[in-house]
């Protein structure tokens, strides 16, 4: 069986930053990813990022991705395995993955899981009609492959993903008929919401999809108003002329690989659902197995970079590498994370991390 010192699953912002930190202290790293390119979700982030200089604010996601790729590629101690889907993980840190139809195994001294998240869906009538998409799929089609998902879109969900994908649809000359939100207020940043409102997109809160209408594909959507218990109110239905219903209703951490190993998991609504129980240094309940990025709780790409770095450092330390100024570095990273999670928009994350016991 192949062996490696540290296996990192997922080459998104968290995985790449963890790799950089481990390589910096002389560790040998294998980075494995399902896609044919590195970058994870950053491959479709064509918009400029907010936040602080240190997380490359005001640069586009795809450019930040390139910076991170350049930092690690051609490093003599890095092995990249692309187009590889990890399908099995065992307690002795044996990992099974598939390339095409071939199965391979590798054993690692430490494993950093940065597998990201999957998109949530909501149930409504005829939700299996072609034309019902999740927002990530729409982003992949447009921003990675240059394919329009349709002509007239009903966007469901006003978190940052719903708002940003709406803007990107408009940029691609696709009409967004309406954006609806089940809660009583807009979930994402108001700057994003204002931008799409200025471009003429109607945003309505306390609304949800009742059903999709169409024979072989989406031809329209029926939406309705929700009461305080989030139940639809009869008589408030409205028909929206559209050929795409785009769901941007949240993300859930991909914990299945950790669960296969028997790692401890906990339900924390504020972090997106089931999340691994981790300590402050991102150690899971299984020895020398770590979790970071969205997989450890849904946040943003900037926070994923930071948690990736903290994780890379703790894995390096546990593997016996000398990490110069470890305490100062980790303290600095924690402070930057605290800054990112500050303010009203970070409230939910802070609550979630408290439940998890990571924040006091």
């Amino acid at each position: 069986m192949k062996t490696t010192e540290c296996l990192i699953v997922g080459a998104g912002p968290a995985g790449m930053r963890a790799a950089k930190r481990l390589l910096d202290v002389g560790a040998e790293v294998t980075l494995i990813d399902r896609s044919d390119m590195l970058g994870g979700q950053l491959t479709k982030q064509t918009h400029m990022f907010f936040g602080s200089e240190k997380q490359h604010a005001s640069k586009r996601g795809i450019d930040i991705m390139q910076l991170m790729i350049d930092e690690i590629t051609n490093h003599p101690k890095l092995t990249v395995i692309n187009n590889a889907t990890v399908v099995a993980m065992y307690k002795d840190r044996v990992v099974g993955y598939v390339i095409g139809e071939q199965y391979h195994r590798i054993q690692a001294k430490a494993i950093v899981l940065a597998a990201g998240a999957s998109e949530k869906a909501i149930p409504f009538e005829n939700n299996d009609l072609p034309g019902v998409y999740a927002a990530g799929a729409v982003q992949t089609l447009m921003n990675v492959y240059g394919v329009k998902p349709g002509h007239k879109v009903l966007m469901v969900g006003s978190g940052n993903i719903g708002l940003i994908v709406t803007y990107q649809l408009l940029q691609a000359d696709v009409e967004v008929v309406k954006l609806i939100e089940a809660a009583d207020s807009i979930g994402g940043y108001l700057v994003h919401a204002s931008k799409i409102k200025r471009l003429g997109v109607d945003i309505e809160t306390n609304m949800s999809v009742k059903r999709a209408i169409g024979k072989d594909e989406v031809e329209a959507a029926e939406i309705w108003r929700l009461d305080e218990a989030w139940q639809g109110i009869e008589g408030t239905e409205e028909i929206i002329d559209c050929d795409v219903i785009c769901m941007a209703v949240g993300l859930a951490p991909l914990t299945e690989l950790l669960q296969q190993m028997g790692a401890k998991i906990m339900y924390v609504r504020e972090l997106g659902g089931n999340v691994p129980i981790i300590d402050k240094d991102h150690r899971t309940s299984i020895e020398r197995v770590y979790a970071c990025g969205d997989m450890a709780g849904i946040e943003e790409a900037s926070s994923a970079m930071m948690t990736g770095e903290i994780t890379g450092l703790s894995a390096a330390l546990d593997l016996g590498h000398a990490v110069e100024n470890y305490d100062q570095e980790v303290a600095r990273l924690r402070q930057e994370l605290a800054n990112l999670r500050d303010g009203p928009h970070g409230e939910k994350i802070r609550q979630g991390l408290k439940k998890l016991g990571v924040l006091s």
Partner: protein
Amino acid sequence: MDPNNVIICRCSDVSLQDLYDLFEEGYTTFEELKRIKRVGMGPCQANTCGKMVQWEIAKYFNKPLASVEFHNMRPFTMGVKLNAIKEAADDEE
């Protein structure tokens, strides 16, 4: 709303009505639903339907969402041909 037309598990074509019928028959946990109807056993491995199943169980039995147990997860997360496993083992010898 016609629960027959609300698809919860796209991989195994399980509707909301199918879930209601199972609830009535006394199958109340994700693990049981999975064994009877293969909910969550397709290519997505409950990544799409899982949260919806948890939510429907919580709603139907009036339980808090956090108390609804998720199903057990075991290797593999997708179909792997037996021959490929054998070949991997042969190569390692």
